[in-house]
C-alpha cells in the first residue's frame, strides 16, 4: 500500500527566497493575511490583487501556477456556490471578493506548506504553545497531534479510494454501508499501526 502523504501540497524541495524564509515569518504572514481578509474582502479588486501576489509567490518559489489550481480544485464547487450566493444576495463585487478571498487564503496556506518542511512547521507550533506548558499542556504532543492530523487526511483519502476500487471490482454497485464499514475498519487498523509505530519510536507517553 503506497499512500502518498505528499499529495496534500506538502513540502517540495527548493532553494527559492520563499523556501529560505523562516517558518515563523511565513506563518505570521499567513495569520496576518487571515486577519486582514475581513477588511480586504470589502474591495474586490484588492482581493484579486492579493490573489495575484500569491500567484507570483508560486512562480517565485519555482512552482507552476497549475499547482495552485490543483490545490483549489477540491473546493471549486464550493467556491462557485459561494460566488453565486453572494452575487444573488448582494452584488457581483461581493460574488468575486468572498470566494476570491477564500481561494487566496487556501492558495497562500498551500504555498507555505509547499515551501516549509513539516518539521519546521511543528517546531513553530511547539515553540508557540511552549508558554502553555505551565497549564499542563505538552507542546510536543500538540505538534505531534497537528502533524498526525495533516498526515492522516491523504492517508484516509487513499484508503477511501482503495475501498471504492475494491467495491467496484466486486459488486459494481453503490452501497454506502459497503463503502463506510471497510473504510472505518481499515482507518482504525491504520491508526492502530501508526500508534504502535509511534510507541516503538519512543513517543510512548
Amino acid at each position: 500500500m503506497a499512500i502518498g502523504i505528499n499529495t496534500l501540497g506538502l513540502y517540495q524541495q527548493g532553494s527559492s527566497v520563499l523556501h529560505r524564509v523562516s517558518a515563523w515569518a511565513k506563518l505570521i504572514g499567513l495569520v496576518v493575511l487571515g486577519a486582514a481578509s475581513i477588511w480586504l474582502q470589502s474591495r474586490w479588486w484588492l482581493v484579486l490583487a492579493v490573489l495575484g501576489l500569491v500567484v507570483v509567490g508560486y512562480l517565485v518559489a519555482g512552482f507552476p501556477v497549475g499547482l495552485m489550481f490543483k490545490q483549489l480544485r477540491p473546493m471549486i464547487w464550493l467556491l462557485v456556490f459561494i460566488a453565486v450566493m453572494n452575487w444573488w444576495s448582494f452584488d457581483w463585487q461581493r460574488g468575486i471578493a468572498v470566494p476570491g478571498m477564500i481561494a487566496t487564503l487556501v492558495a497562500a496556506a498551500g504555498l507555505v506548506t509547499l515551501t516549509t518542511p513539516m518539521s519546521a512547521l511543528i517546531d513553530v507550533v511547539v515553540r508557540a504553545v511552549g508558554p502553555l506548558r505551565r497549564f499542563g499542556v505538552d507542546p510536543e504532543r500538540v505538534g505531534l497531534t497537528l502533524m498526525l492530523g495533516i498526515r492522516c487526511v491523504p492517508v484516509v483519502a487513499g484508503l477511501a479510494s482503495e475501498v471504492r476500487e475494491a467495491q467496484i471490482a466486486r459488486t459494481a454497485t453503490h452501497s454506502f454501508r459497503a463503502f463506510a464499514v471497510p473504510l472505518l475498519v481499515r482507518a482504525l487498523r491504520d491508526a492502530d499501526a501508526i500508534g504502535d509505530a509511534l510507541v516503538a519510536r519512543g513517543f510512548d507517553d
Binding site: M1, A2, I3, G4, I5, N6, L10, Y11, Q13, P117, M118, S119, E140, M147, L148, R151, D190, A193, I194, D196, A197, L198, V199, A200, R201, G202, F203, D204, D205
Partner: protein, 231 residues
C-alpha cells in the same frame, strides 16, 4: 550483548467466550546476537516479538530485556530495543526521508546540527543520501524498509526486533535487506517466512499454535519447521 529472559510467557486476546490464547508457556533465555523466529501464519511469532519491545505486555509470565521487565519498565525497554514493522508505510511518520529519520530524535535534546549529522551518516550508509528531501512514501518498497531501519537505528538501540520486514518485498529487495541485517552490529531478533535470511543466525525458535516447539541452530530448527509444514 543483550540478554532476553522469557519466563513462562502466555498471551490471550479478548475475554470470555471470545478469548483466544495466542501464546502459551513460552520460556527461553536468549543471549545470542542473531535470533530467528519462524512459524506458520497465526503461530504466535509476531505476538512474541512484539512482546520483546513491550508493544504487547504478556497476560502471563515475565519478559526481561537486560534485566528490565517489559511490563513495568516498558519505556526503558523501548529505548534499548528498536522495532521494524512488516509494512514500512505505517512506520513512516514524516513526509520527507530526512525528516522521518530525524523524527526519533525530536525529544533527545540533541542540537539540530547534531541530529542532521546523524541523519546524513545513516542516509549515506543505506544509500539514501540522494533521496534526503524526497517524499518518503514515494520510495520503492526496499528503500522504504531501509528508511524504516535507518529511523530505528538513529536512536542507537542495542537490540533490533524485526517482524517480517521482507514479507512485502520482492526477491531482490528481500535479499538486499537480508544483507543489511547481516551487517548490523546490534543484536537482532528476526521473525520471518524467508528462511534463507536465517542461514548465518546463531539460534532459531520455531512456534506452532502459540507454543515454542523447537529451539536450536538454523539447520535443526528449519528442518523441524519443514516437517511441521508437511503435516
Amino acid at each position: 550483548m543483550v540478554h532476553i529472559e522469557v519466563d513462562h510467557v502466555g498471551h490471550r486476546y479478548g475475554q470470555g467466550a471470545l478469548a483466544r490464547q495466542v501464546l502459551d508457556g513460552v520460556s527461553a533465555d536468549l543471549t545470542e546476537s542473531r535470533i530467528g523466529v519462524i512459524g506458520h501464519n497465526g503461530s504466535g511469532k509476531s505476538t512474541f516479538v512484539r512482546m520483546l519491545n513491550a508493544l504487547l505486555i504478556p497476560s502471563q509470565g515475565v519478559i526481561k530485556v537486560n534485566g528490565l521487565d517489559t511490563a513495568s519498565e516498558a519505556k526503558k525497554v523501548r529505548r534499548l530495543a528498536g522495532f521494524l514493522f512488516t509494512d514500512p508505510d505505517t512506520q513512516i511518520i514524516m513526509p520527507t526521508v530526512a525528516e522521518d529519520v530525524a523524527f526519533g530524535l525530536r525529544k533527545s535534546g540533541l542540537s539540530k546540527p547534531e541530529i542532521a549529522a546523524r541523519v546524513d551518516e545513516l542516509l549515506e550508509r543505506f544509500g539514501l543520501s540522494g533521496h534526503r528531501e524526497h517524499p518518503a512514501h514515494l520510495l520503492s518498497g526496499g528503500q522504504k524498509q531501509l528508511l524504516a531501519l535507518a529511523s530505528v537505528l538513529i536512536t542507537s538501540p542495542q537490540l533490533i526486533i524485526m517482524d517480517e520486514p521482507t514479507t512485502l518485498l520482492d526477491l531482490r529487495n528481500a535479499r538486499m535487506i537480508g544483507q543489511v541485517i547481516g551487517e548490523l552490529s546490534q543484536t537482532v531478533v528476526l521473525a520471518t517466512h524467508h528462511l534463507h535470511l536465517l542461514d548465518d543466525f546463531d539460534r532459531v525458535l520455531v512456534f506452532d499454535s502459540g507454543r515454542l516447539v523447537a529451539d536450536g541452530t538454523p539447520t535443526e530448527a528449519i528442518a523441524h519447521y519443514r516437517r511441521l509444514m508437511e503435516v
